[in-house]
């Protein structure tokens, strides 16, 4: 077990290292002239030269990479050529709203996906099952950004059930930052009107973000439940006179949940990446909107910063999922140990 974890940590470190190289290469390969963008159009050659020196673009690549790596380790991601602010600072303010969005979407994903999968499996082949399966298929097939646009148009604009865009209403007084996570802060302060307003704003982006992932969860839970329901201990449980509810939840689901937990864990990293497709539609001020703006402005260091942050989150969340899965599942544990030795 220790050997496996050590090897897995080795892969994580290697992946993170390669990630920094990829990030750096992306930044250097990007055509366009960061120095020129930095000083703005119509600048003199001397001003561009000065900006180049200021941004450190005139040194050899290896030196630039080394400086870059050292800077990264000091949480210095460079300066955005668009906002003219440190990218760490930009990401620092963009990341908390995105993480809150991912958490809410994940909650939706779990409370909708798992019950639907269970019901679908319990009535496998029936009408309810067919409806759920088509629904899951549609959820996985509809592009998240298209769902976002349509939810915004139909639910927010036409029906007026939720606000069109933003994170909070402009009239809301946010109060003090405790953790820097606005919804969590409102919760901690007991500021219910702010919390309600924030949740109102987050519902549609969260649905748009979650739908595709929920489709996958429904299908995973359904198929592992069907597998579990075919086992002999289920027949025994029924024979003992237990209710269907007890058999489904206590006996089948408990054994069927593990594959779904693994997928849920991996989805965290994917979701953070998918915020890029959803947030900008709702002008939600997270890392996704920041990424789209950075792309629009050819803000290369900012794009690289985003690749780094989401890439690292992806690598680490998959690592944690792997470890948790190994601890939770004896079969996987045996398999992994066998393979790593």
């Amino acid at each position: 077990m220790v050997a496996f974890i050590t090897k897995r940590i080795g892969t994580v470190v290697l992946s993170l290292f390669v990630l920094t190289i990829v990030a750096f290469v992306l930044a250097e390969v990007i055509p366009g002239d960061p120095a020129r963008t930095y000083v703005g159009p119509g600048a003199t050659a001397a001003a561009i030269k000065a900006a180049e020196i200021h941004l450190g673009l005139n040194r050899p690549l290896v030196v630039q990479y080394w400086t870059y790596l050292v800077d990264l380790l000091h949480a210095n991601f460079g300066i955005s050529v668009f906002t003219h602010r440190p990218i760490t600072q930009d990401l620092g303010s963009a990341l908390p709203p995105s993480l809150e969005l991912v958490v809410i979407a994940m909650v939706l994903n779990i409370i909708v996906g798992i019950p639907l999968g269970v019901i679908s499996a319990a009535r496998a082949g029936g009408r309810l099952d067919a409806v759920t399966r088509v629904g899951a298929m549609a959820g996985a097939g509809i592009p998240p950004f298209f769902l976002a646009v349509m939810l915004q148009y139909l639910i927010a604009f036409r029906l007026n059930w939720f606000p069109l865009s933003g994170e909070f209403s402009t009239t809301v007084n946010l109060g003090h930052a405790i953790t820097g996570f606005p919804l969590l802060d409102a919760l901690l302060e007991g500021n219910w009107s702010v919390l309600g307003d924030g949740l109102d704003h987050i519902v549609l982006p969260a649905i748009a973000l979650a739908a595709g992932f929920t489709g996958v969860i429904v299908r995973t839970v359904r198929s592992s439940m069907i597998g579990a329901l075919g086992e002999e201990y289920i027949v025994l449980a029924y024979a003992k006179g237990l209710t269907e509810r007890t058999v489904l939840v206590r006996h089948a689901l408990r054994n069927a949940l593990l594959p779904s937990l693994t997928i849920l864990g991996m989805q965290v990293g994917w979701m953070l990446g998918s915020t890029i497709l959803v947030e900008s539609v709702f002008s939600y001020p997270g890392i996704g909107t920041y990424a789209v703006n950075a792309l629009f402005n050819s803000d290369l260091w900012a794009i690289v910063g985003i690749v780094l942050v989401i890439g690292a989150a992806f690598i680490v969340s998959n690592f944690i999922t792997d470890i948790v899965q190994m601890i939770a599942d004896p079969a996987v544990r045996a398999d992994r140990l066998g393979r790593s030795s």
Partner: protein, 307 residues
């Protein structure tokens, strides 16, 4: 090829060479039987085939030039003359959706062709090239798999300077590791089968063994994964275009069209809605076909593919 996959026994032990007339007839009958018991998947197959037809012939039947700007006919709602309405530059949305099918499906085909070729090469080398080669290539593959495809594609696409070609290259680059890992498993598995051993004993050369005996039997299963991936690649590609890292307006690409449509959504919903529906139907159709193919495989292979 779907006929081959629909029969696990034949699939597993098929020897190289064409099928006889009777075999082919039997297969057709079996396909019809399978489709009859899977009505939803049959609809998916129809949608997928329809989209392929649209991609092939859509531009021929498109009522207007998709790039014809006409400010007199801006943002007209769907009508008898413009079935899907017109966009904010007065272009016919139906014509643009029809052209978009070709853009999307041909781009997806290129991505999958590149990714599957590279993946097959790397996977085969890893499976048959000995321990050191295997270790190195699989480490590389693991690192590739540990990056989020969308985000990596955004970075790469920005690095290449944006545009559809950049997006295609970017997605191909982040997609091959999945195929490499799959092909490695399939090839290693196939290499241990009896008919390969028999061929080896008969003195078939190593290269011929790989090309004529191992790969054809492994690649049928790769084909299933490819079908499952079509929807995913199409969504990623149009997603890149939507956020401005892929095909750029005014080119008729579905993601870019949805992006343009989202700017005018409150006054002209049809500009975003129709390309979005086309994209959704394409994704669902191909997923259903992939599911059907996977469902027909033997369970052992099913778990192998179920990533």
């Amino acid at each position: 090829m779907s006929a081959v996959v629909s029969d696990p026994v034949m699939l597993a032990e098929r020897s190289p060479g064409g099928a006889s007339m009777e075999q082919r007839e039997g297969r057709t009958r079996r396909i019809i039987a399978v489709l009859r018991t899977h009505p939803v998947e049959a609809i998916g197959l129809c949608i997928a085939l329809f989209m392929v037809l649209v991609a092939l012939f859509g531009p021929l039947v498109a009522p207007q030039n998709p790039d014809d700007v006409s400010f007199a006919t801006r943002m007209l709602p769907p009508s008898a003359t413009n079935w899907f309405g017109t966009d904010d530059a007065g272009r016919d949305v139906l014509s643009r959706v029809l052209y978009g099918a070709r853009t999307t499906l041909s781009s997806v085909a290129i991505v999958i062709l590149i990714a599957a070729s590279v993946g097959t090469l790397v996977g085969t080398l890893a499976a048959l090239g000995g321990r050191a080669v295997d270790e190195f290539l699989m480490r590389l593959t693991d690192i590739g798999l540990s990056f989020p495809p969308l985000v990596l594609a955004i970075g790469l696409s920005a690095a290449f300077g944006g545009g559809l070609t950049a997006a295609i290259a970017a997605i191909s680059l982040s997609w091959w590791p999945g195929y490499a890992r799959l092909v490695r498993t399939l090839v290693a598995d196939t290499a241990n089968r009896d008919f390969v051993e028999n061929a080896r004993v008969l003195g078939v050369s190593r290269l011929r063994l790989v090309l004529r005996h191992i790969l054809p039997n492994a690649l049928d299963l790769l084909f299933v994964q490819v079908t499952l991936d079509i929807a995913f690649v199409a969504l990623t590609l149009s997603g890149l275009s939507f956020i401005g890292a892929g095909a750029r307006p005014p080119s008729p690409e579905w993601g870019a069209m949805i992006s343009e449509g989202s700017q005018v959504i409150t006054s002209a919903w049809w500009v975003a809605a129709f390309p979005g529906i086309a994209l959704t139907l394409t994704a669902i159709g191909f997923s259903l076909v992939g599911d059907l193919l996977r469902g027909q495989l033997d369970p052992r292979l099913k778990t192998m593919l179920g990533r």
